[in-house]
Symmetry: C2
Subunit: 388 residues, 2 copies
């Protein structure tokens, strides 16, 4: 990934070619400190294993994790490979493995990474065990548990199925523990529902560990986590590690859940006004869905933020202005339906910042972060990677 | 962008790490030939200026344009820079320019590219004219016309505004013509509505050219186009060039409009089954929204395809199976609501191909095409680029 050759001359937002992804370092630091303090208070002995699927940047990872034991979670083997090359050793690949990926896993382990994988079914467990035995690979595997019917995982209400997978894995590979993810917490209506999701997540994974222990297996890792539940949970008895990812950036979906305020969001897309359709109440900018992503995560929340909430260059929201719709490279800004405000006069050429619905999907549209210091000055450009 | 060092050993789909973007070359060729033949039949003298915002690949562009006069359309200056470096000279940047981008435009023109820009407002036109005069840049500019209230552009019903922009531009820059885009055609309900959109688009842009000619301006370029209208239009009198982009790939949105059949779609995402939730009727795969994008373009069409239509590895659809929902790296496949079919038995480890709602947004999630020949063998890996 090329860095802009003129990067050293960038000092202020007006030097940036739009659209561009901005990262407010003071907010990143404050958000990271918030989760760290919360976990120190409620569970000082629980390992935090941040999920780096949103960051996808060595610089962000090193910045956020300074001082912490660098155990990490990833969502792709490419993330595992890049972070391992950067010196991260303890890595959980938290998407169900396929046998066709085992050779890459073994190669990373042979290079010294303690890469752990997951599965939730007998067929894959058998292939993992055979692969581990045949290649002589020490292959730690976590069994994926379903705590809320959201996607993958075995249900704790079916203990036999969990024990069966553990038996098959143990015959060749290494049963390293159990893990779950309360994805349903993103659909919660309020903080009480998030708290309920967190309690359900803890109960499901602790119960699963117990099932395996009662069947005679050691279960060193009991892993749970999502940003909403990590920040909400108060009793982590029986949990050994917690995974959260979006917490370091936050986004409008998290603000809609009441987990953060929109002023906490560390990511935004810098854009330039390219025209108006004044009779329609539209301001048109050069950031469309290619810069914001097609994510409409707030569409079903109480406040629909369109494709994002519009702020002035200093980060202050422009009243009720949202990106109402988006083409590939055009964003259409309008006052939120139902608002009594009128369209502000923002001339062609003006810079604006758009807060994203979903940090993961918006960041994925960009190949670098433009990093801002506390004074809003451009202090660095950090590359992002993508792919699998 | 790195090519996979092992690329020469890839020969079949089972060698590919999933998820991955597949490009069926026979379909790309057939789709390209279809538009070429249509335009040769209805308007042999009209220039086709393909939009490369979907392709974002030099190899795809060279493959599709072989034999044609290589005039192209782009949606970002990065596209312009990369295609200019690859030898494309006649380039239209079809998003309203901002003054902060004029230096990059001038640099490309100084390097020999005949890059044209667009605007729809007086303020920008003034800055373009001043920039062109001060820097001695010959800067051809098209005035953007609004033919359907979809986004940017001046209305032909306001001739004074169009003439005013032309006057300002001419005093420093070069008025090169007028252009429009019937973005509303993507929301058409059927082929008749697409045809109506095409007729309206022709009428609006021809009328705008006439307004300027009556005011004494030369209007060498009269440019229109979108894939639906380009394939539907029959009378192009007064039009000098037509722009289409998605036509070379097609997608489920185009199939839903009746513009193509789902078997014409040249792009698909290869994925592997990683698990099941059989009680729920779910198959879980390793392609989520990161591989498909968050685009739900068929949600408001007659047939909602979820995040994509599921096919076997040979490209044949699996009955009514769609990607019903998606997490970042998980896709949940289920039988389409209302279908009488039952969930097929597709074991863990199986490969599947998912046809995308929207070629532009799905392709944007990938950094390369895995190119398949007529026999379905992997014949090449072509890099894609991104960014602005």
């Amino acid at each position: 990934m090329d860095k802009d050759p003129g990067s050293s001359s960038l000092r202020q937002l007006s030097d940036i070619q739009t659209p561009a992804l901005l990262l407010d370092l003071a907010k990143l630091d404050a958000n990271s400190a918030r989760l760290r303090k919360h976990l120190e208070a409620v569970a000082p002995d629980v390992l935090h294993r941040p999920h780096l699927k949103t960051a996808k940047s060595i610089e962000v990872a090193e910045h956020v994790l300074q001082g912490e034991e660098p155990a990490i979670t990833v969502s792709t083997l490419r993330e595992a490979e890049i972070f391992a090359r950067a010196g991260f050793r303890d890595i959980l690949y938290a998407v169900g493995i396929t046998p066709s990926k085992l050779a890459r896993v073994a190669a990373l382990r042979a290079q010294g990474a303690d890469l752990k994988i997951i599965t939730d079914n007998l067929e894959t467990a058998e292939k993992i065990a055979v692969f581990a035995a045949e290649t002589g690979t020490n292959l730690p595997v976590l069994i994926e548990i379903d705590c809320d019917g959201h996607r993958s995982g075995l249900q704790p209400s079916r203990p036999d199925a969990i024990v069966a997978v553990a038996r098959v894995l143990s015959d060749g590979a290494q049963l390293a523990g159990v893990m779950t993810h309360a994805g349903g917490s993103y659909d919660a209506g309020n903080e009480d529902e998030v708290f309920a999701a967190a309690s359900g997540e803890v109960a499901a994974i602790v119960r699963s560990a117990q099932i395996l222990r009662e069947a005679g297996f050691a279960v060193p890792i009991v892993s749970m986590g999502s940003t909403p539940t990590a920040l909400s949970v108060r009793d982590l008895s029986g949990i050994t590690e917690i995974r959260a990812g979006v917490y370091m950036f936050f986004d409008l979906v998290m603000a809609g859940l009441g987990i953060c305020h929109s002023r906490d969001i560390a990511l935004s897309v810098l854009t330039t006004v390219i025209g108006h359709q004044r009779e329609k109440g539209w301001i048109i900018v050069d950031a469309g869905w290619m810069a914001m992503s097609r994510d409409r995560g707030t569409a079903d929340q109480q406040i629909d933020q369109g494709y994002g909430l519009v702020c002035y260059p200093d980060g202050q929201p422009v009243g009720d202005l949202i990106m109402e719709s988006a083409n590939q490279e055009h964003g259409i800004l309008a006052v939120r339906p139902g608002s009594t405000r009128s369209l502000p006069d923002i001339p062609v050429g003006s810079l604006l910042r758009i807060l994203p619905n979903h940090a993961c999907s918006t960041a994925a549209q960009h190949d670098q972060y433009i990093v801002l210091d506390k004074a809003g000055r451009v202090m660095a450009q950090w590359p992002r990677f993508s792919g699998w």
